[in-house]
Structures are given as structure tokens and as C-alpha cells.
């Protein structure tokens, strides 16, 4: 047999990969002390960490939780840890905790936001985790109206009549769709609820209320504040901006010239304007444009502006996802005879949204943090409240503790969103 020819007589079986030599020493060598420059960097970083922590940790823990004013705080820390010790005065968080959470919401009604918050978790659960029974989504659909009623109080008929608008829209769509086709049905589904809300909703809910007076004590928007306000604006903005963003992104790609022009104009305008400007428009200017006598709640106005602002960004993020989809996906869906909305809903959007999850969640996090900007137009979100708290003689001069606490709470919210998005990405991973 010549040296060049070779025949394998048996195939090699699969083997387990070699077990890496484990052990902490090996890990340290590889990751921290692999070379002389690396060792120097490791030691320098350790020294840096030591300097930082040796200042921060004593400040955090040599602290006072029980004092009732800043000066009392300082004297308590001096008594406990020696004169000249700098310690945190966490007492301000303890004393103002309820205010930071609820603002000036009446204390005897705190149960209402608490119930609303718990129900919000229940309503969000089936949206976030698809293992839960799908019937829970019905509750998620009703929840916004329930939440509105719980927070603002008033007659129960107001949210019910508002909800009826959507039901009427659905009924109009079904009835007119069966008789006159798709386009008139869509127009009717849009017009009927709007007419209902503008013309009939008020008298109907007043009438019903005079027959069956059911309701909660009303709380006005000026009393809303604290993290309750941030969560209210943030979550509403997040939940509303995604569907609006999807529609804007689709509109921007549409062949219909007018739809496309409106979407492009809206996106470019909103993205080109600072959020603060929009908030000022909401707080000041909008009143000039509304018919005299209409009262349009300030929180509602702010929510609308924040939502519009976020949905313009959302639209661009989703457009990125749409652009990343191979053309073959559209063709595959088309070749099977799916119509535009079917292929968008079943094929295109699930993939485009999946691609854009990281950027979508970034936008959500940005929106949630931007809610503190409402302090500029005088709403009492946590940042707005810090000014109030420091205006109190007892706490004048306190800075780090308040902002640190607010930062921590925001971090917890934003970090959970980021973790959830990573979970979602892992779950939707379908190759290998």
C-alpha cells in the first residue's frame, strides 16, 4: 500500500470534552494575574475599590434612622460614633417614606393606590409570562378603567361609560363590517366611540349616577405624587407607546402616501423636540387650544405627552427591527395567501419585535426615568418632593440620602425591566 492511500476502518466514537482543571488558583491565575501588567491593574483596582468603600460603607452604616430632624440626626451620630463622624441620616427616608410613595394622597385612602398597584401586577402578569392562563388577559383589559377609578375615585359610572365606548366601537365594527365591508367598518369603529365619549358619555354617566349613586371619594390630581405618580405615568406610557409605535412604524413603511406622510411628520417632529417642551405644552399651552370650560386633567395631559414622545422613539426602534427582517419572510407569508394584517401579526411583527427587544426595553427604561422631568412643571414626583422636603426647616440641607434613595428605587425598577428583557430574549431563542 502506498503511503498516500489510507482507509479508515472504523469511525471514532464521540468523546466528552476534556475536563478543565478546576480550582480557584487556576481561575485567579487566568483572570486576575495572567501577566505582570494584568497583576498591576488588578492590584490598582483593588486599591481603588478599597478607597471608595472605606468612605461609603461607614457613611452608610454609621447612620441614624430614628432622628426627627437633620440636627438631631447629626448629634445622634456624633454621640454614637464619636465627634466628627460623617454618617447618613436615613431618618428622613423613614419619616417621609409615605410622602415619597404617595405624595399628598389622603392618608386614610392609601389602600386605594396599594390595591391598584397589586392589581396592576396581576394585570401585567399574563402579558409578561405566556404560561399563565390566557383568560387573565380579560382582567388586563379592564384594569386601566379599574385603576383610574381606584386612584381618582368619583362615580363608578365614569370608567364604565368610558369602557362602553370601546364595546360600542367593537359592535359597530362587527355590524357594519358584515354589511358594508372592511373600510366603512374601520371608520365606524373609530368614529362611534369618539362620538360617544364627546357627546353622550357625560350625560349618560351623570344620569346613571343619579339613579344608582355608586362611587368612591374623589381625589384631585394635585394630591398625587411620589413614586405612585412615577409608576402611573411610566407604566401607562410604556403600555400605550408600544402599540402606537408599532402602528407608526407600519405607517411609515406604508404605500399609502398620506398615511406615510402623517407618520413620518409625527415621528420626526416629536423626536426633534425636547420632552420638557412637550411637558410645558401640556401644562400651559394646551389650555389655550381646548374649548373654554373643558377641564382636562394635568396628569392625563402629561401621560399623553410622555406616551407620544416615547411612541415616536418606539416607532423608529421597531422600524429597525422591520428593516432587519429578510425579504424572504414577507414573500414566504405572501406566497401562502396571508393578507397584510395576518402576515404582519403572525409573521412580521413577532420577529421584528423580537429583534428589537433590547432597544425597546432601553426606550422603556428611558421613558420611566424621564418621568422625573414632570417635577419641572410642578408635579410632585419624588424629585419634585425633595424640594418640598428640603424646604422643611427640619430637613434643610439634606441631599445625598434623598437622591440616593430615589436613585435606588429607580434602579430596582429599571434593573428588573432589563432582567426581564434578557429572560424574554433567552425564551424566544429558537435556533439550537
Amino acid at each position: 500500500m502506498s503511503k498516500l492511500s489510507y482507509v479508515r476502518t472504523e469511525m471514532l466514537p464521540e468523546q466528552a470534552p476534556p475536563v478543565a482543571q478546576a480550582g480557584i488558583v487556576k481561575w485567579l491565575r487566568e483572570n486576575l494575574f495572567s501577566s505582570i501588567p494584568n497583576s498591576i491593574l488588578t492590584l490598582a483596582s483593588l486599591a481603588f475599590l478599597y478607597v471608595i468603600l472605606s468612605h461609603v460603607l461607614p457613611w452608610m452604616f454609621q447612620s441614624s434612622w430614628t432622628a426627627n430632624s437633620l440636627s438631631e440626626c447629626r448629634s445622634m451620630i456624633a454621640a454614637a460614633y464619636g465627634e466628627g463622624t460623617h454618617g447618613a441620616c436615613w431618618a428622613v427616608i423613614r419619616e417621609r417614606f409615605l410622602q415619597l410613595v404617595f405624595g399628598f394622597y389622603p392618608a386614610e385612602l392609601y389602600w386605594r393606590p396599594i390595591v391598584a398597584f397589586i392589581l396592576m401586577l396581576v394585570a401585567l402578569a399574563p402579558v409578561l409570562f405566556d404560561k399563565l392562563p390566557r383568560k387573565m388577559l380579560w382582567f388586563s383589559a379592564i384594569f386601566p378603567f379599574l385603576c383610574f377609578w381606584l386612584l381618582w375615585g368619583g362615580s363608578i359610572w365614569v370608567p364604565i361609560v368610558a369602557l362602553a365606548g370601546f364595546v360600542l366601537g367593537g359592535v359597530a365594527y362587527a355590524l357594519i363590517g358584515a354589511k358594508f365591508g372592511n373600510l366603512p367598518a374601520t371608520i365606524a369603529a373609530f368614529l362611534v366611540p369618539v362620538l360617544w365619549w364627546l357627546l353622550l358619555a357625560n350625560p349618560v354617566s351623570n344620569g346613571l349616577h343619579s339613579i344608582i349613586p355608586l362611587g368612591l371619594e374623589a381625589v384631585e390630581s394635585a394630591k398625587f405624587g411620589g413614586f405612585m405618580l412615577s409608576v402611573l405615568i411610566g407604566i401607562t406610557g410604556i403600555v400605550m407607546s408600544l402599540p402606537i409605535g408599532v402602528l407608526l412604524a407600519l405607517g411609515r413603511q406604508s404605500d399609502l402616501l398620506i398615511v406615510k406622510a402623517i407618520c413620518v411628520g409625527f415621528i420626526e417632529f416629536i423626536r426633534g423636540v425636547p420632552l420638557i417642551t412637550l411637558l410645558f405644552v401640556a401644562s400651559v399651552l394646551l389650555n389655550y387650544f381646548l374649548p373654554p370650560g373643558t377641564t382636562f386633567d394635568i396628569i392625563l395631559r402629561v401621560i399623553i405627552m410622555v406616551t407620544l414622545f416615547a411612541s415616536a422613539y418606539m416607532a423608529e426602534v421597531i422600524r429597525g427591527g422591520l428593516a432587519a427582517l429578510p425579504k424572504g419572510q414577507y414573500e414566504g407569508a405572501d406566497s401562502l395567501g396571508l393578507d397584510f394584517w395576518q402576515s404582519t401579526r403572525l409573521i412580521i411583527m413577532p420577529q421584528a419585535l423580537k429583534i428589537s427587544i433590547p432597544s425597546i426595553v432601553s426606550t422603556f427604561i428611558g421613558l420611566f426615568k424621564d418621568t422625573v422631568l414632570v417635577s419641572i412643571i410642578g408635579l410632585l414626583d419624588p424629585i419634585g418632593l425633595t424640594t418640598n422636603i428640603r424646604a422643611d426647616a427640619a430637613w434643610n440641607g439634606i441631599i445625598w440620602e434623598l437622591y440616593g434613595f430615589i436613585a435606588l428605587v429607580f434602579f430596582i425598577f429599571c434593573f428588573s425591566m432589563s432582567r426581564y428583557s434578557m429572560y424574554l430574549e433567552r425564551k424566544l431563542q429558537t435556533s439550537h
Partner: protein, 255 residues
């Protein structure tokens, strides 16, 4: 063999293309295409790249729009009316070079999606049909996997099964084996041959000349947007008339 191939072709017209012209911008891609496809016919379309063969079959289910001429599929005139287009697409199956399976859906869901949403078939029944066709393409055991977990040949067979689940009367193949390794080409071709033997009307853009010889009853050669020559495979390969066809055949068969 040639006789057996002719037997199941009926006189009924499946696709009628008359004087069809298409432009990409100012570039004239398809010029005066006239083509009649009878029910049960298996047509192979070949030609150099850029000759318009893919564009031609993509016009049949309106993935590409044509600007002049008339296309009638199964008696339905292909106009710009979306209802007509969707009706034709649900009767005409198509397989692509890159499979175009939906990566976010399992194999079974890929197959049941269109029957459920377009044909409004109950889920259970659609799943039974899907399993039937997955067995036919010999991968029923992969039904719960996702496309990304399958080999190219398996994916293309799923794509064929997905089209068959719509119970189409005509199948279009757009270079179904060009993106596959040699070992996988055979498994896909075998599936297509089986389909041809059952009498499916097929239009197939391919460079697999062995396949053309074995199953086609007509081979069409296109160049520069025109049909240059068409004939039965025996004649086409052994006795090509046009010079352009002779050159093409000598190039693809000559090595």
C-alpha cells in the same frame, strides 16, 4: 418513460400567460412572454442567471408585478385586486431558494399557519393534515423542532410540506436546490419527483438537468428575458435548435 409522462397531462389550462412584459425601472426584464401550462404538466425552466426565469414564475403568484399582458391562473385573472391575488396565492404553492420558513414558529406551526388563518380550517384538522404531509416528506419526527435546528435539506422539505398543506393545485419552485449541499440535493429532488408522479402541476426553475430529464414533460430555455426555446426534454437535450441553447447546454453539461 416519455409516454408515461405525457399520460396525465390534461387539456385543461392551468396557467395562461399572454404577451406579458415586465420592467424593473427602465430595465426590460421580461419581453412578450407567451406560455400556456396544462394541468398536470411539469415544466423546467432553465437559462443563464439574469435571464428572468425567477421573475417569470414570481409573476405567476404576483410576488412581482407585471406591467403589460395578461396572466390567468386557474381561471382567475391576475389583476391588482388584492382579493384576487390572495385567492391565487392560496391555490399556488411556492418553494424558495432560501426556504423562507418562519424561524419563530415550530415546524408544525409553520405548516398549520396558513390553513388555519387563510382556509379557516380547525386547528386539530390542520395539524393532522400537516403531519400527513410531514410524513410524506419523511420528517414527521422533527415536527416540534424549530427551522433553525434542521439541516438545509430538511428545511426545504418542510417548505414543500408547508406549501402542500394548503392543498395547492399548482406548485412553483424557485431554484429549490441551489442553496443546498450535494448530499441534500437528492433528498429534496426525491420529494419533488414523488410529487410529480402524483400529477401535480409544477413549474420549476432549476439547474438540475438530471431532474429535468427524469420528470419534466417540457423544458423551457430563457435568455435575456425571452423564451428562446421550449421542447420535450429528449429533444431539448439531444437536439437543441437555437445556437444560444446549444452554447448554454455545452457549458453546463460540458464538464
Amino acid at each position: 418513460m416519455a409516454n408515461a409522462k405525457k399520460m396525465d397531462v390534461s387539456d385543461e389550462v392551468a396557467i395562461q400567460i399572454e404577451k406579458m412584459n415586465k420592467w424593473y425601472g427602465s430595465f426590460h426584464v421580461l419581453k412578450d412572454i407567451d406560455l400556456t401550462v396544462y394541468r398536470g404538466e411539469r415544466i423546467v425552466i432553465c437559462g443563464p442567471s439574469g435571464s428572468g426565469k425567477s421573475t417569470l414564475i414570481r409573476c405567476i403568484n404576483a410576488l412581482e408585478e407585471h406591467q403589460q399582458g395578461k396572466i390567468t391562473v386557474d381561471g382567475t385573472h391576475l389583476s391588482s385586486d388584492l382579493k384576487n391575488i390572495d385567492a391565487i396565492r392560496s391555490e399556488v404553492g411556492m418553494c424558495f431558494q432560501h426556504f423562507n420558513l418562519f424561524p419563530h414558529l415550530s415546524i408544525l406551526e409553520n405548516c398549520t399557519l396558513a390553513p388555519i388563518w387563510v382556509r379557516k380550517i380547525p386547528k386539530k384538522e390542520a395539524e393532522e393534515t400537516a403531519m400527513h404531509f410531514l410524513e410524506k416528506v419523511k420528517i414527521p419526527d422533527q415536527a416540534l423542532k424549530y427551522p433553525g435546528q434542521l439541516s438545509g435539506g430538511q428545511q426545504q422539505r418542510v417548505a414543500i410540506a408547508r406549501s402542500l398543506c394548503m392543498q395547492p393545485r399548482i406548485m412553483l419552485f424557485d431554484e429549490p436546490t441551489s442553496a443546498l449541499d450535494p448530499e441534500m440535493i437528492k433528498e429534496v429532488l426525491d420529494t419533488m419527483i414523488e410529487l410529480a408522479e402524483e400529477g401535480m402541476t409544477m413549474l420549476c426553475v432549476t439547474h438540475e438537468m438530471g431532474f429535468a430529464r427524469q420528470v419534466a414533460n417540457r423544458v423551457i430555455f430563457m435568455d435575456a428575458g425571452q423564451i428562446v426555446e421550449q421542447n420535450e426534454p429528449e429533444e431539448f437535450f439531444n437536439n437543441p435548435q437555437s445556437e444560444r441553447t446549444q452554447l448554454f447546454l455545452s457549458q453546463i453539461l460540458g464538464h
